[in-house]
């Protein structure tokens, strides 16, 4: 009876919304119950953005995530805002390329992933989100890497199919980063 309640947060341009959508889409492809809920409004303009994702074997109750099984934070304000929302024993994924602070929580499983650095290494700063997503599915197994890639194909469309390999690599590097 797996259920993941995820908060994904970061700056406007870091792809947190699409990260959440890919996860949701993948869940749907695996016939799970899913929902995706964005923050919206003026804080999005140049400021921070976040979304709530639920992937569950049961019908989704409220799409709002108030107690996250996982939080993925891409920048410092997001860490500050959301670390408190993670449930005991929940997961906190920190983009350590941009956040040099540690979490103050000791009752959760926190991972620091230098997502921007890894993305830079792979040659495309815009896939830092995929690095984080790779780490996330590695830890939770809530959806498979294949489903994420399948979703990505749907989202990118045939014209951009050439971007799939680099995204796959990003997922793998993210998984690696938390695989010990």
């Amino acid at each position: 009876m797996a259920e993941q309640q995820v908060i994904i947060a970061g700056f406007g341009g870091q792809g947190v919304m699409s990260m959440g959508q890919l996860l949701t889409y993948a869940g749907m492809l695996e016939d799970k119950n899913v929902s995706w809920l964005p923050s919206y409004g003026p804080e999005m303009r140049g400021g921070t953005a976040n979304c709530n994702v639920i992937v569950s074997d049961n019908p989704v109750g409220s799409p709002l995530v108030t107690e996250a099984t996982t939080a993925i934070v891409m920048n410092l304000p997001s860490l500050d805002k959301f670390e408190g929302r993670v449930v005991e024993d929940g997961i906190l994924l920190i983009n350590s390329s941009l956040i040099d602070k540690k979490t103050s929580r000791t009752d959760i499983r926190a991972y620091e992933i230098p997502a921007n650095d890894i993305a830079n290494e792979l040659g495309n700063i815009r896939i830092a989100n995929m690095v984080m997503l790779g780490a996330y599915i590695e830890l939770t197994n809530i959806v498979s890497k294949e489903s994420i890639l399948e979703s990505l194909k749907k989202v990118l469309g045939p014209s951009k199919e050439k971007l799939i390999p680099i995204n796959e690599k990003a997922l793998e590097r993210g998984a690696q980063a938390v695989r010990q």
Binding site: Q21, T24, Y25, M28, V34, S35, W36, L37, P38, Y40, G41, P42, V60, G61, S62, P63, L64, T66
Partner: protein
Amino acid sequence: MAKVLMKGNEAIGAAAIKAECRYYFGYPITPSSELPEYLSRELPKVDGVFLQAESETAAINMLYGAAGAGARAMTGSSSPGISLKQEGISYIAGAELPCVIVNIVRGGPGLGSIQPSQADYFQATKGGGHGDYRMVVLAPDSIQETVDLVIEGFDIADQYRNPVMILGDGVIGQMMEPVEFKDPPKRDLPPKDWATTGTKDSNGRKRVINSLYIEAEACEQMNLKLQAKYREIQKNEIKFETFGTEGAEIILSAYGITSRVTKNAIKILEKEGIKAGMVRPITLWPFPYKEFEKAAEIDSVKAFLSIEMSMGQMVEDVRLGVNGKKPVYFYGRAGGVVPEPLEIVEEVKKILGGVK
């Protein structure tokens, strides 16, 4: 058709197209703007017309014209924009024009906030415009239900020649969930033999769309006709979801997204050994008064609690349904704040502590 993942606002647009709606007139406003945006992309592909009106006032009157001309047509907006449509809605109801109006409610009053709210319940169900009229008000709690109700909503509108409102909120408008576009239950829809399409189409018999009855007696006749229709709708179209009322200590009532938060709360309460039942109105008008009446007669039930993203609106209808048989309480958040399950749990405990 396979499931697709869609944002509520876009799903409303897609459902409208599926329902053969081909005309949309609207003015953008957060958090509903993806609806006009989607239809500006998609309607032209099916030879439909998307027209951005100069204002909500213009939009509702374009809708009047298009509906009066026999088309399936829609408009949408959010709270302040819906307030601007009130005169037009009253005209549409008075002239008995079928159409669908979407309100993706945000925090009010005034400019308020753009966050999700349910504070337009009164406006939608009791008549924000002037005169005795009613809209059918459909309040879905998921994107799938949104799509189903939009599609059925067009049929309901056509069947009764009445405006239908889809009452969502910022969450319904903005969230994504998987949806399937299914055919609605089949209805026998009357021909639109009243629509103004030129007398070419009616053997020269002139048709008029109108709500003016200069003699009070004639105006009263129009009202009596409307009331008869409303009774018919009340008889046929009430929708709700009820569960766990038998043996429940308390009945929670909530609609739309709040009902899903409430369901989470009910699960938590269950774990804590408190049995809470639920009545979720899906049609806010016609309201399922009987369902509350029935629940009020269940012995185990000690109280009712209406949970809303408002300062207490639907609770009046709950009271009217319960009619003094049990105490009715209210818990609400305002201005765009969505309640959390634990708040509801606390409130229930407080109430049961109190009435025990």
